[in-house]
Amino acid sequence: MAEKVLMKGNEALAEGAIRAGCRFFAGYPITPQNEVPEYMSWRQEEVGGAFVQAESEVAAVNMLYGAAATGVRSMTSSSSPGVSLKQEGITYLAGSDLPCLIVNVMRGGPGLGSIAGGQADYTQATRGGGNGDYRTIVLAPFSVEELGNFPKKAFELSEKYRIPAMILADGILGQMMEGMSYNFEPVDPAALCVKPWAIGPNTTGRKRNQVYSYGLAEGELEAMVLKRAERYALVERDEVIYEERNTEDADVLIVAYGISARASIAAMEIARAKGIKVGMIRPITLWPFPAKRIAELASKVKAVLCVEMSLGQMKVDVDLAVNGKTPTYLHAKSGAFFPVAEEIAVAIESALNGKKEQLFNLADLAEKATNERAEAKNAPCKEGALL
């Protein structure tokens, strides 16, 4: 393997995209992903590609639509509030079957939230945050090395199925530095196969290509949606990626992705040192989700513990997979707080022993909120009180 170079996550990602043959980037600045456009601004010029600092996120995603329609490997990147703005563009990209890469270096939300790293865009990313029946392929790196190597994987999957791909990272991954080595040779865009559907100069007298997302004639849209669903089925069957650690003898199974998985690895060490048998499955593709494997593993453990920087968004997918056969629990950090290994270790013990410490439970919150409301009734009315 090549010598590792110390690189920031965002820069490793940008360089990885260039090496994967990306020759169009449009974006609009937002913390914590600013190093991506900054890097692209000089690097695209070096390789003869195009960099556009757009006037807004919406403009950037629509520029991506135009570039992707020509068949060039194209991307945009942003962070949570910016990715929300791009949702209209993403549903058009999905509806037009355009391969492309969208990167979300997540921060705290909802709204403007905070600039610290977060994971609360899981649902938006995996369900498609725009209108219509569509999916995006979602890859969740957990290291700088994966951030740098995933763009190539993302472009390949996206082109293979003509489905927009998303890399779902977070502010911590984007801002941190680690040793980076690329596991692939730089891709020469000229050597990539010519997309038969792409628009551009017609020199061969082929039938005119058209890229659009609507079907107004009777039955036309349904046919388009169902044809696309066939590809979704193939992706769900063939493209699931995950990593397992210590699952052979586990009594507790952690499910965690991205940066939460890193904290969970440290927590596993603490728990294992105490003699608690704990393992982990790390979904690397969030869609397609490794539901089948999680179901198999869940049938062999006493408890499943989800660790995520959101209030159970990923747990919804875990619950669908486990289907009530094993108790599932949640250790959640939201408001852009980073999971702490020592706290996850406590959550592991709670999950195993039926305790509440370090486990997030909405029912407990309801009780707390009820009590607060009862007390507030006796207090003088405060204008604008949050009750």
Binding site: L6, P32, G171, M177, E178, R262, A263, I265, E342
Partner: protein, 177 residues
Amino acid sequence: MYQGVRISGFGGQGVVSAGVLLAQAGLVDGKAVSWYPSYGPEMRGGTANCSVVMTDTEVATPVVAMPDTAIIMNEPSLPKFEPLVKKGGLLIINTSLVKTKATRTDIKVIYVPCNEIAEKVGSLKAANLVALGTFAGATGAVSIDAIANAMKKVFKRAKPEILELNRKALEEGAKLK
């Protein structure tokens, strides 16, 4: 071998670059490393800090919640990080700017007049390297040579005489144990 380090001080003191140097030095030494900065609403004169992990195996979490070593470059950083240091860990305090003494007795504390030593060596800007030198000398987690080599990679445009000055700062720092 595992070392989780927190370096904290004013923006402009070079605490974030000191962390990058440390990570780069660890990488040169063949270790797995990570570096993670605080990137809140930071500004020159405000406080900044970073986490560095060096290990022989694999870096689990890059955010060092309980450091083995905390390097305290300014007064406001002391109350923030002293309580977090692991029992038996190390606290390096820049006495040029930190007048308060540490209160914990279950950790090792080294007091280093970083600014004065740096000025004696030739530049106040090298105060962060004095502290890194002390860290290297006291923990053995990384060698002075590795940090000096890392400097060439991190500060690519630095003149040879500056690199030499920086090395001197590291060596002076390493003398304090």
